[in-house]
Symmetry: C2
Subunit: 469 residues, 2 copies
């Protein structure tokens, strides 16, 4: 393990470009190969603007690499959810009772571009586009590529290979096909897929609905969401079953039926999406999958990072944040001077795996919460109490959402364990009529609730611990 | 869906032969193809006797097919666990406080043989051996085979194909490779592998240690177990990490080290295994994997059953029982006259999947319980209370183990949910000093405990339900 090692990174997406930048900053020689064209010079998304939620864990990673400020310039803060019912009525629910806790809508392409720019400033980094990795000989650390432009195949022999090539990772597939070790692996699909649509900017280039919120149209079995873009538009995503329920992707095949579906379920959104029929018909329907695997590494030779090791569903807005946090954790392990890549990879997976497993599970939970529970009275009462507690005791109470999203110094696993226990305590106290809330809660009333919630949460954690022996 | 359909079953192991028998009894025409030679005429296991635990769910399936009595003739009842410590001391722990609740050690080969014999009595069943399925064209229900004897390849065109070809199922692999639908799939390996050894019969052909128990040598990070065979021998299985801890499969490479390991950890077992060095060196080390997947079926064409759809680790003694229970559930669905295979397959998976997922998880839990917790004082106290409750209130109290093993009319999922809640209630009552036990509990004392446990269990279930909304 030394600075002269030839490091090969497969994939120059968000995780790969941040990793390349960080390794370059640490003095490593890095060659990066990306299957797609350079997104800074090619319009890949064919006019569609894809955005993501950037929050504190991702920002911490960007800070580590000196990129926080540049990223903030292209962020649109979202302070809460704005729920839309079938009549077009809305109600909002903040993400936190604390000020300055919000998430950010950011363009995937723009963020990727500033990371590539910064990485390329380092002379010890070379990024090669249009080079698709076909497979990896993990024993000999040789990656085989095809050049999409010249159609020629070629191989790169490296000392260490990082696979940051996303959910369909060629390095991960080589772990399966080379059969060098027992590889635990799972791919789990929801019965729902997603389709992207667009609310364009108004004539003066402004957002037509609040750009300070993540919009949700929760409908139980399906939902629509919308995140704002810098150009005044919103990217809208429909999450819907492939083949179950009255309306689904398989049976929404005629213009009449699509229109009827939106008129009935999302009348206010329908008026804002002028090209609904064209977009619905032409835009692809994507699957929603969770990928977990282990081990992530092979000896001192290869390592999976980001989505290639832990692809998750988008419902906690944590996919990019989790991948960026991988780079932070990896960087901390590098600081320990463990001496060889195998020790580094082992320590990295040991430090990281339980956290990425946790965010994968939390993201599935949030699928049900967003499409359904957000409109449930007990859930709404819970959120109201949590906002009051966070506002009144900003240093003492943190909801599960806050623990996951705004507390980057707590791992996802810890956030999940404490957050779930807290949710369980609160939901049971509310449904058992043991805590009561009203519009203007006094601090004295809230102190009683806070103490009760903490006590119940700790009891739940303690009882779970004993039951798990 | 009619009796003239050509049904092809891939795999004539335990599940495949029972399924063939049942479908034949219902009047279907069945062709069965098996990759291995006929185990009734070939000694496949090369002298080793492999046994399994048969309990009430498996027996219910055998009863359905009129095979219970024949199977009972080759069963050895095991009434409880007999634990061995490092000094050779033993203590026993019954599986149930009720009489007539026990599990059975049975030879895999002998049981398979009587099922094949019975299936072949039906003229609408043909079983073909040495025919290895290479892959399946699921769209056209054509299975491609290689004959291991003639080395020739051939294809079978069927109306419906059942894959009962075990954990390495070729039908399941075709689901992945044909990419006709989104296939959720997981394979998860424990860090432990297993190796089989033998305690031979004594000179008069008798068992050298109690044949009424399943023997366990629990050692925390690893364990040894032994199940009796009809010929007076025991099949012993060592469960040990591949590469962690002081002793593991990777570093137990010298005769000195193997001997030292057994002398230190299993001195009493060592004296009973005369060929320890030869067997340890020559017998293969097998992996311990859990496989889950969904969907199990493709349209009205193919269905996975048994291990091919849900392979589990052996620690609950439920692998064969779960596969046999598949046949019972499938038979119940057939009784509903749903009209076409697609409706049958769909109803079958809907009725069955949550139960096979549950037993997979319970089997992993039991790995930790068997190798570790069985020697823990709180766990031992829990088991003592449960035995007292089952003995005193045989119709009111059922431990998790009893729910899973002896209550074949409750699904695994229900057994898991109630059983886990009950375990949690009891462990917390014991460790909180809220229930007390002594050698001679009176019925009045036990009534108090029973009511307390039921109350706590129901509270836990209720609170979990509210938290899950």
């Amino acid at each position: 393990m030394n600075k002269k090692d030839n490091i090969l990174i497969i994939g120059a997406g968000l995780c790969g470009s941040l990793l390349a930048l960080r390794l370059a900053q640490r003095g490593y020689k890095v060659e990066v190969y990306e299957s797609r064209p350079d997104l800074r010079t090619t319009d890949i998304s064919a006019g569609r603007s894809i955005n993501l939620a950037l929050s504190d864990r991702g920002l911490k990673a960007l800070r580590l690499c000196g990129m926080e400020e540049k990223a903030r310039e292209i962020c649109i803060p979202m302070y809460g959810r704005l729920m839309h019912d079938t009549k077009g009525n809305t109600f909002s629910s903040n993400y936190s009772g604390r000020e300055n806790e919000f998430i950010n809508s950011i363009s995937r392409g723009d963020l990727n571009a500033i990371l590539l720019d910064e990485a390329e400033k380092h002379e010890n980094v070379n990024i090669h586009f249009n080079k698709k990795c076909k497979n990896v000989d993990i024993e000999n650390t040789i990656a085989h590529f095809k050049d999409y432009k010249t159609k020629k195949e070629f191989s790169i022999n490296a000392d260490v290979i990082f696979g940051t090539d996303g959910a369909g990772s060629s390095l991960r597939k080589s772990y399966v096909s080379e059969r060098k070790f027992l590889f635990s692996y799972s791919q789990n699909y929801l019965n729902h897929g997603y389709k992207e649509l667009e609310i364009p900017a108004d004539k003066s280039g402004k957002h037509q609905i609040s750009n300070a919120h993540l919009h949700i149209w929760p409908r139980g079995d399906f939902m629509l969401i919308a995140l704002p873009n810098m150009d005044g538009s919103f990217t809208v995503t429909l999450f819907l079953s492939y083949n179950e329920g009255e309306f689904n992707f398989e049976n929404l095949t005629s213009e009449e039926k699509i229109t009827k579906f939106f008129e009935k379920e999302f009348p206010d959104a329908l008026t804002l999406i002028p090209n609904i029929l064209e977009e619905f018909t032409n835009n692809p329907t994507g699957p929603l999958g969770t990928i977990k695997c282990s081990p992530w590494f092979y000896q001192n030779k290869t390592l999976l990072m980001g989505d290639s090791s832990h692809a998750i569903v988008p419902f906690y807005g944590q996919g990019m944040n989790a991948s960026f946090e991988d780079v932070v954790v990896f960087d901390e392990i590098l600081n320990q001077d463990l001496g060889d890549w195998n020790a580094v990879f082992k320590a990295y997976q040991k430090a990281r795996k339980h956290d990425t497993d946790a965010i994968a599970d939390l993201a599935i939970d949030n699928f049900y919460e967003m499409r359904d529970h957000v409109a449930n009275p007990i859930f709404k009462e819970k959120r109201k109490i949590e906002m009051d507690l966070e506002k009144t005791f900003p240093n003492q109470y943190f909801s599960k959402y806050s623990l996951v999203t705004f507390n980057e110094n707590i791992g996802y696993y810890e956030a999940m364990k404490r957050g779930r226990a807290q949710d369980k305590a609160l939901l049971n106290l509310i449904s058992g009529d043991e805590v009561h809330t009203h519009l203007e809660m006094t601090k004295d009333e809230l102190v009683v609730i806070l103490e009760r919630v903490i006590l119940e949460t700790n009891t739940i954690l303690e009882e779970d611990k004993i039951a798990g022996m």
